[in-house]
């Protein structure tokens, strides 16, 4: 069927903030969907609470709402916009759940809307555990013995019946949240209680464990006429038992014979036919490695992380095609954009190997329990393409930015064989390197396959790499022959890796191999294995003879992407890269993107003129530069990943556009930076680098407490701390010097003032500040974890003037051309500077949207030589817009066992939401709502435990809550305080005081809000840590900064409801 002409306006629901299990892939799919729908001349109404996304840009949809993703708000938007249709499967699990909720409430019927694409009953059939089971029975598809339980005792009973281990999967949760494998009844009780609590419908599936079977996924498409295709198969290297989001995955499946492959492919198609998918669907199978026996694990009737990976792995744009199908088209009516000749109704043939490796946040979360299981913990992923498995894997490893260029990892080498074996059985994020180390020690390969459940095929491939490494170690670089060099490069070894193994330098390896004439060629990703002529400008490197990438003679610029999503470097940077490309295109420049993140818009082959899907290391980037000879390279938008290439590119005489590497270095190097501030007479908190505990104590007495202490050379996420007294300092310093004597510890005066932040654009003469952001939480909380307010609400004019002045002077001094980000503290009427980043920052998408200044476009044009004045801007702060917009951080700590929850100097948030209102309190109310924060009401119960230091500050807040009818529960210290001041409080036992204690009270579900102001974080044995973890695990809102609590009181006082606030379209922000 061609286009359904009755569709005029489609509602698209986004996926909300980036959290573990739901990352940038839904910005990619949502953006594709919006574009595909608009291309047909149909209006798009978009709602997404996440301001960092490309999909929420002006111009992407017809009207865009950055509003909370709740049924109330979406209904308000529907009422105002009156879309005639909704497409449900583009916004991940969040979007899908919300669509189901609206459907159940009859909202679509009420407003006469139809669901296009896969219907809600079909979605439910796939999502709801019970109907899924029935569906499988109906289609004769095997599943592991399982049962839906809604209470603990049924669960225990069923587990006895099928035997342990038992897999626990809550219905309707993200990335397996709340799930796990229970080996014993005790474990079952723990996991199941949490799962029941977290499931929206209190349904949990208990399933017999098929741990150790191969995990195979298919991405399937079906149109309204019933035509089905499979886009891609994927094989998890880690067998069933490790969440697919935490597995290394290859595409296509590599160890299945055609009979097995076709058996599963047919099953996938039978399933989607049976539930009448209209669009894309992901089907996951477990396959017994010793027979044809298989079981369907689950299906996702929507676009997903896997579909993003499959799209990038094959060049087949799943989300776009799914949107076209929803609009009525059949697969054989949609052109394949890659070939321009064939149609979307075909199955991609690929002639390379794709490897996806998860990026885990454990470098930030030092104390986290790192074992991989059925709960996803990775924040992001990288993808690598090679035409050998080894090259694909090695490219992937160096894309992770964990300083690994071979499979030899220091931490694995240090482990005993017994320990390594244990870690092979119970894997964590270092599994690959542990396995390589076991193989290096000649551990029995058959045994290794047995204990890991991994296919011997993959283990053998790892062995090939290990053997090559061992062989190389026997050579000096000058003895490496042409044939050897060629073989190693084909195998995927980097110059750096070869240098490490031969005891030389990467530059020397590079020189030698180029002298030998060994340089990479670039092959095309074309969906058809070369069968048809393709026009897709999408490339990967190999060490073959024949290249397919031919540089044009146009003026061209390379934009370096930001790699995998991680804490501190998220989707915001992809936003910047993509916008820079759009701006360059407008300027008539050929654009080239290098990036390795399959979840992003930047790695869509439609985004730039050319896409190189490659690691972002010096060598890989430089190889492309040598081929393309660009007129410039842009580093400013790729976060720290791109910035750290600056010095190298300068050394190689590669033209870097914008701020020159020398000045980037000046801002990044602490000493040079201090000299500059000195010269400009700009204040910063006093501090010093110290080398011993004694020196520290002496210095502390000069600086005065409290002090901000941090290692100068940050290792493994061991971070900053605020110390309030000598005892704390001594403990911190002794600890730090015990771990690392070679580097100093930096101690700075801690100023507990107001934090302010700017992103500014400088052309060398003028400096434009689009807007100043005020942080709600005082200094000491990482800027990425603070609630950020635009325009500032409490900053005096003289400070604003000072910010303008200091920003101007620093930008000019650093000869910034393009973006600069500066963070300040206002303390007792003085302005101090705490950080300067000579690049685009994570607040750029937010500030762009709320100030209406096209920040990246301006910065890019400046890098191309234009001046602010020519664009109609001048030095100063852009005029304020008519709304207050508040960015609220979102954490994924529930996904990461044993991770500290409280706010501190180390960044922990994974994403953000925006609240837009006519006043501070209205915006804050929406921000809290979007973040899922419980706003207490009369009768709510608040558990409060406040450190001594803050008791005074807490008192007025407590009184406000009490006045509004909230009840308090506290342990002795805080309870004494409240009672002494006449605030009624119910006493709770501390953990050491026996049961029922404060943790039991949280678990009982009677607490609506927890206020816990910790003495210090990261002490897993403290009561506070346990309270915070319990709060997270029981999904109770917790606040760890009194500043946030203060804002909450304000919002509560204002008495907003979803009905009383306005929805504000992006275009209304002026």
């Amino acid at each position: 069927m061609p286009l359904d002409k009755s569709i005029k306006k489609v509602l698209v629901i986004g996926s909300g903030p980036i959290v573990i299990g739901q990352a940038a892939e839904f910005d990619y799919s949502g953006t594709q969907a919006c574009q595909a729908i608009k291309d047909e001349g149909i209006d798009v109404v978009l709602v997404n609470s996440n301001p960092a996304t490309i999909m929420t840009d002006r111009g992407m949809a017809t009207s865009t709402y950055i509003e909370p993703l709740t049924a109330e708000y979406v209904e308000k938007i529907i009422k105002k916009e009156r879309p005639d249709s909704i497409i449900a499967g583009m916004g991940g699990q969040t979007g899908l759940n919300l669509a189901c909720e609206l459907y159940d409430k009859g909202i679509f019927d009420k407003y006469n809307m139809k669901v296009i694409g896969t219907s809600i009953p079909s979605i439910k059939e796939g999502e709801d555990r019970d109907s899924f089971k029935k569906l499988m029975e109906r289609t004769n598809q095997p599943i592991a013995p399982s049962e839906i339980v809604t209470n603990l005792s049924d669960g225990i009973e069923f587990a006895k019946e099928i035997g342990y281990p038992v897999i626990v999967r809550p219905a309707y949760t993200l990335g397996g949240t709340g799930g796990g494998i229970a080996e014993t009844e005790e474990e079952l009780i723990e996991i199941l209680s949490q799962g029941l609590h977290l499931s929206r419908v209190s349904q949990v599936l208990l399933e017999k464990s098929i741990k150790g079977w191969k995990e195979i996924e298919f991405e399937v498409m079906r149109d309204g006429a019933g035509n089905c295709i499979t886009v891609c198969s994927m094989e998890n290297i880690d067998p069933v038992g490790v969440h697919t989001g935490d597995s290394i995955v290859v595409a296509p499946a590599l160890t299945l014979a055609d009979k097995e492959y076709q058996m599963l492919r047919k099953a996938a198609i039978d399933i989607i036919n049976s539930i009448e998918i209209k669009g894309g669907c992901n089907v996951q199978f477990a396959l017994n490695p010793d027979s044809f026996e298989y079981a369907v694990i689950e299906i996702n009737p929507r676009v997903s992380r896997s579909s993003a990976l499959a799209s990038k792995a094959t060049g087949y744009p799943i989300a776009k095609i799914a949107a076209k199908i929803a609009l009525g088209y059949n697969l054989d009516e949609i052109k394949n954009a890659v070939t321009g000749k064939t149609y979307a109704c075909f199955e991609p043939a690929i002639d390379y190997i794709v490897t996806k490796i998860p990026k885990w946040p454990f470098d930030k979360f030092f104390g986290a329990k790192r074992n991989l299981g059925t709960k996803m913990m990775a924040t992001g992923e990288i993808m690598a393409i090679g035409n050998t498995f080894e090259s694909s894997l090695l490219k992937g490893v160096r894309s992770l930015e964990i300083s690994q260029y071979t499979l030899e990892r220091t931490s694995s080498k240090k482990r005993s064989t017994v320990e390594l074996k244990q870690r092979a059985i119970v894997p964590d994020d270092e599994r690959l390197f542990d396995l390589a180390e076991l193989i290096r020690r000649n551990y029995n390969m058959e045994k290794l396959a047995e204990i890991t459940g991994m296919d011997p095929f993959f283990l053998q491939k790892i062995k090939n790499i290990v053997e090559a490494e061992e062989e190389l170690k026997k050579y000096r670089l000058e003895d490496v022959t042409y044939d050897m060099m060629k073989r190693y490069k084909r195998m995927g070894f980097s110059d750096k890796g070869i240098a490490e193994l031969t005891g030389s330098k990467a530059a020397e390896v590079f020189k030698r191999r180029v002298e030998m004439g060994i340089i990479p060629v670039y092959k095309m990703v074309d969906t058809c294995a070369g069968e048809f002529e393709a026009v897709s400008p999408y490339y990967y490197s190999t060490y073959d003879e024949v290249t397919e990438s031919f540089p044009s003679d146009r003026k061209k610029v390379i934009v370096i992407g930001s790699g995998p999503i991680r804490i501190g470097q998220g989707i915001e940077f992809d936003y910047c890269s993509v916008h820079s490309v759009l701006s360059l295109e407008k300027a008539g420049v050929e654009t080239i993107i290098i990036n390795n993140n399959p979840e992003t818009v930047s790695t869509d082959f439609d985004t730039s003129d050319k896409l190189y899907f490659e690691p972002l290391t010096e060598e890989d980037v430089y190889n492309i530069i040598l081929l393309e000879k660009p007129d410039g390279v842009i580093l400013q938008f790729g976060g720290q990943t791109a910035i750290k290439l600056a010095n190298f590119l300068a050394d190689m005489n590669v033209p870097v556009l914008g701020t020159q590497p020398k000045y980037i270095d000046e801002a990044e190097d602490r000493e040079k930076f201090d000299e500059m501030l000195e010269k400009l007479q700009i204040k910063r908190p006093k501090g010093k680098a110290i080398w011993s505990v004694e020196e520290g104590i002496a210095e502390a007495n000069i600086l005065e407490y409290p002090l901000l202490v941090r290692p100068s050379y940050v290792l493994g996420g061991q971070g900053m701390e605020i110390t309030h007294n000598e005892a704390d300092l001594v403990r911190y310093l002794s600890d730090a010097f015990a771990k690392d004597k070679k580097n100093p510890v930096l101690i700075d005066r801690y100023l507990g003032g107001r934090e302010l932040e700017v992103d500014a654009i400088c052309d060398g003469e003028d400096v434009l500040i689009p807007g100043i952001m005020e942080h709600l939480e005082r200094a000491g909380v990482h800027s990425g974890d603070s609630v950020s307010i635009y325009p500032p609400q409490n900053v005096p004019e003289n400070i604003i003037e000072k910010i303008k002045d200091v920003t101007y002077r620093i930008a000019l001094e650093l000869k910034v051309i393009g973006m600069i980000n500066i963070q300040f503290i206002e303390f007792k009427g003085e302005l101090y500077i705490i950080e300067v980043n000579p690049r685009s920052s994570r607040t750029v998408p937010y500030i762009t949207k709320v100030t209406n200044v096209p920040v990246i476009d301006i910065a890019t044009r400046i890098m191309l030589g234009e001046k602010l004045r020519d664009m109609g801007y001048t030095t100063g702060i852009a005029p304020k817009t008519n709304t207050v917009a508040i960015k609220v951080p979102i954490f994924s700590t529930e996904k990461l066992p044993r991770v500290e929850v409280s706010l501190g100097p180390e960044m922990r948030s994974t994403g953000e939401v925006l609240g837009v209102g006519h006043s501070f309190s209205e915006a804050m109310y929406k921000g809290f709502t979007a973040a899922g924060t419980t706003i207490p009401k009369a009768g709510s119960t608040i558990l409060a435990t406040v450190r001594d230091l803050d008791k005074e500050n807490f008192l007025p807040i407590a009184k406000e809550f009490a006045k509004m009818g909230c009840k308090f529960v506290s342990t002795s210290g805080t309870a004494d305080l409240l009672e002494a001041h006449g605030v009624p409080v119910q006493r709770a036992k501390k953990i050491s005081e026996g049961v029922p204690n404060v943790l039991d009270i949280i678990r009982s579900g009677m607490i609506d809000l927890i206020i816990d102001i910790p003495k210090k974080g990261n002490d897993v044995h403290s009561d506070g840590f346990k309270i915070r973890r319990t709060a997270i695990e029981c999904d109770v809102t917790i606040m760890t900064s009194l500043d946030t609590v203060g804002a909450l009181v304000n919002v509560m006082k204002a008495g907003y409801t979803a009905d009383s606030v306005d929805i504000i379209a992006l275009s209304d922000i002026r």
Binding site: I229, F346, E347, E531
Partner: protein, 350 residues
Amino acid sequence: MKAQLILENGARFVGEMFGAEKNIVGEVVFTTGMTGYQETLTDPSFAGQIVTMTFPLIGNYGINLEDNEAEHTNLKAFVVREKCDHPSNFRNEMNIDDFLKEQGVVGLEGIDTRALTKILRDHGVMKGVIMSGVPTDAEIASLMNSLDNSHVIMDTTTDKIYTINEAGAPHIAFIDMGAKHGILRDLAARGCKITVFPANAQAAQIDEMKPDMIFLSNGPGDPLDAPGTVDVIKELVGKYPICGICMGHQIIGLALGCKTKKLKFGHHGGNHPVKDLTTGNVYITSQNHNYILSDYPDCVEETFVNVNDGTCEGIRHKTLPIQSVQFHPEASPGPLDTGWLFDRFLKEVK
């Protein structure tokens, strides 16, 4: 041992020889299937050809003795980017190197198969030789010119008449043009009695058996090289329901008055979309052919068409119970989407 693949147009690819080590000549084709190398290796339709796989890792799951599509491999050589020496699969019985050695088939590994594929795509199917050492131009030319694939059908067809499933029904006279086991398997699975004839069987021999249907299999090479089969079918048209697959389809078409054309580089792989012109549905099919039917007479109508290039994928006689498809409903290797066609074929038996 180092060896080269030298194409008719002079292009050369240097690799390592494996399997049987000898110099050979053949017609060079590529196939895009990502799995199913074993079925490809044993598919008689590849007789006389040098087959290159576009997927770079070949041999990962080894060779088992169950999935062969014929008793022997008939192709001349197998060209891969990387063969797997340590295969892994519960059914794995030997590795690909040993299998090729045993079958006397030349292997060549370590070449840029994508570059080769693009040459074949741009220049069309051509002859090629694989030679070890440093052959002279005269040696290359001599081997290149020795290629004669006109007898491949007789090389691959059965040498005697035999019956499968004696007690079954209906009774199918199966003309083996170089048949894949898969077709026989699918017919037998539906309970048919199958009498298999060589490609050069005479009409009288078939008449003698009084079959309920005549079925023509796939086979290698040019249908015009078939040993009189077209004329035999002309004699049988109207007397029996007739169905066929791939070359069988082409022979039926020729017998009904269609013409054949050679495609530039053929269709080889498991991802070809085919539209059923009766229902409008599209199926993903397994294909392996260099020739297509064209110029249908009035009595013939097209039933399936290739979505990518619009070529003929199936025909039917407007009045007689005769139909055939160009693609492979038996899959092996490839998708199982069109297995139902066997039921449709058998419905022609009244």
